[in-house]
Structure formats: structure tokens, C-alpha cells
């Protein structure tokens, strides 16, 4: 501590390229903390859903047991977990320095994520087409917002994977690309974690 200078207004908390920092560890821990705050966003949405999941708040419209299908939700569960596993296996290929294997894993993850989203979007579009859109009742507002927030996260993850498919051949497995791949792995696994909570609470307990 005696060798350190006193912090000033120009003191940098983190300096990219400084070899005294571990660039990858700093980035993954920072992203992990962001994900915990993202989890709190979902916690607030789950709390709202719990409050609005009553016949009173359905305002004469459908309640959970009339709109959710646990069996269809199980196929979605397999799709999202399969996508997460494929992406995680892509990072195993990255560990072995295999760009082709990494790309194959990412593409498989994207395909399964699109299958998952197709189920979800179809459900919401069907409900809206029958006049049970998100403005029909407080309950449906909570339901749509919860499902759509997760779907938007999935969409962002797919976009991120497409970016990585471009960056891996362009830059190879350098510090930046590896850190982004690891952060995306956490982000993608986080989507499966949220889905398990959503599936159990909305699709099973609500059924």
C-alpha cells in the first residue's frame, strides 16, 4: 500500500490494456454483476405477476389456467436448454481453439432459440388475435410483459451470437473475443435460469 499514490480526480478504476489487470476476469465479473441486477428486474416482474394473478385482476378475461399449456411449455424448456447447451459446447470448442466447432455450436444455439421464440410469439399472437391482448386486463398485462421481457432478452442474445459469428473469423480468439464469448455464455445460461422460474411459476403453478 505504501507504493500506491493517492487517488485523484483522474484516477482510473480500470485501464484497458494494463497488464496488471486480468482483462477477462474483470469483464466477466462486471458482467455477472450486471446480470444480478437484470435478475432483480425479473424479480420485480414476478412480484407484479404474483399480485395481478387473481380473477379480480383478470377483469372477466382469461386467467392463467385458460391460456397456459404446460406441455407446450415443456417443449420450449427443451428448446431453450438445448440452445444453452449448444452455446456452452461452443465455448468448449473455443477452449480447444476450434473456430469451426465454435461456429457450429453458435448456429445450433441460434436455431433452437428461434424455435423457442416461435412457440412464445405464436402463443401471444393467438391470444391477441382473440382480443386477449396485453391491454385486456391487469393480469394479461403482467403476463405479456413477463413473457415479452424474456423474449427480448433472447432476441438480444441471438443478435449477440450473430456478432460473435462475425468477430471470431475476423479477430480470432483474442482477449476481447474470448471475454465476449464468456459473457455471452453467462447471459445465455441466465435465460435458461429465468425460463425455469417462469415455466414453473406461470405454466405449472398457474395451470
Amino acid at each position: 500500500m505504501a507504493n500506491e499514490t493517492a487517488p485523484t480526480a483522474n484516477t482510473q478504476l480500470f485501464r484497458p490494456g494494463y497488464h496488471g489487470h486480468n482483462q477477462i476476469s474483470a469483464r466477466t465479473l462486471g458482467f455477472w454483476l450486471y446480470m444480478l441486477s437484470d435478475a432483480l428486474l425479473f424479480t420485480a416482474l414476478f412480484a407484479s405477476y404474483a399480485v395481478l394473478d387473481t380473477p379480480m385482476n383478470a377483469a372477466g378475461g382469461p386467467v392463467a389456467s385458460q391460456i397456459v399449456n404446460p406441455i407446450e411449455g415443456f417443449w420450449q424448456t427443451i428448446a431453450v436448454l438445448g440452445s444453452v447447451t449448444c452455446y456452452s459446447l461452443a465455448t468448449v470448442a473455443m477452449k480447444n481453439g476450434k473456430r469451426g466447432g465454435t461456429a457450429v455450436g453458435i448456429i445450433a444455439a441460434i436455431v433452437l432459440a428461434l424455435v423457442f421464440l416461435a412457440f412464445g410469439v405464436n402463443d401471444l399472437a393467438t391470444l391477441a388475435a382473440h382480443g386477449d391482448g396485453m391491454d385486456r386486463s391487469g393480469y394479461l398485462s403482467a403476463y405479456f410483459v413477463l413473457i415479452l421481457t424474456h423474449a427480448i432478452h433472447m432476441g438480444v442474445g441471438i443478435l449477440w451470437m450473430l456478432v460473435m459469428l462475425v468477430q471470431i473469423p475476423l479477430f480470432g480468439f483474442n482477449d476481447m473475443v474470448v471475454a465476449r464469448m464468456l459473457n455471452l455464455r453467462m447471459f445465455w445460461q441466465f435465460q435458461a435460469t429465468i425460463w425455469v422460474c417462469l415455466y414453473v411459476y406461470v405454466y405449472m403453478i398457474g395451470a
Binding site: 497488464h19 486480468n22 476476469s25 380473477p55 436448454l81 444453452v84 464468456l182 445460461q189 403453478i205 398457474g206
Partner: protein, 127 residues
């Protein structure tokens, strides 16, 4: 924080990736969710027991993901992720628990439901 590495692929978070672990994470979560689905479709448990059983299976699935997918452990590379998660868990419980408790009280005191509608409705966490 782990030490500095010149080869990014030698970083401990890259090295911890394991095909067997990820496949085990997939299989265990699917099996636990499948068991929860069977319990849900049978409809033969009282609501409270059903919620506890399905919630327990979900908790096991989340634990399985934490260890097999995220690879959380007490190694030097992972310890701060585990610590920050443990510190955040009470916030999740407080947020959902207090919100449900507050609105349950409000619901019981102000949202008087007609007897026929209450009888026809399915139980929820607020009831």
C-alpha cells in the same frame, strides 16, 4: 480475480468449460422439469403440497444450473460470483415476499370478491 494470462484460452473461466458438465446440466434440468410436469398434469395433490413439491423441483433445477452450467464454486476464479449471488438472493426473496405479503393484506381488506366468483376461481398465491 485470477492471475494474468498471455493466452486468453488459458484463462480459468475458459478452461473450466466441460462438455460432460454441460450435458449433465441439460439432462438434470430436463428430468427435473419433466418430473414437475408430471406432478402438474396429475392434479392429485392439494394446492399447498403441489406448490411446495414443484417449487422444490425448481430449486433443485436452479442449483443444478448454478453448479453445472455456471460452474459456480469456491475456486479463486469463481468465488466473487458466488459471494455476490449469495448476497443478492435475499433481495430476490424480500422483493417477491414483501410484495406478495403487502398485496395479500390489501386484497383481503379491500378486494371483496363475490362468493360465486371466489368459489369458481383457482387458488393463487394471493388467496
Amino acid at each position: 480475480m485470477a492471475g494474468s494470462h498471455s493466452d486468453p484460452l488459458a484463462h480459468p473461466e475458459v478452461r473450466q468449460g466441460s462438455a460432460m458438465r454441460y450435458i449433465a446440466g441439460f439432462v438434470s434440468t430436463v428430468v427435473l422439469m419433466g418430473a414437475a410436469l408430471i406432478v402438474t398434469m396429475r392434479h392429485d395433490l392439494p394446492y399447498q403440497s403441489f406448490v411446495e413439491l414443484v417449487g422444490g423441483l425448481a430449486a433443485l433445477a436452479l442449483f443444478s444450473q448454478a453448479t453445472l452450467f455456471y460452474g459456480l464454486d469456491i475456486s479463486r476464479a469463481q468465488i466473487w460470483k458466488g459471494v455476490s449471488l449469495i448476497l443478492t438472493l435475499p433481495l430476490f426473496i424480500i422483493t417477491v415476499g414483501l410484495t406478495v405479503w403487502m398485496f395479500q393484506s390489501l386484497n383481503q381488506r379491500t378486494m371483496v370478491m363475490p362468493t360465486s366468483a371466489a368459489a369458481a376461481s383457482q387458488p393463487t398465491l394471493l388467496q
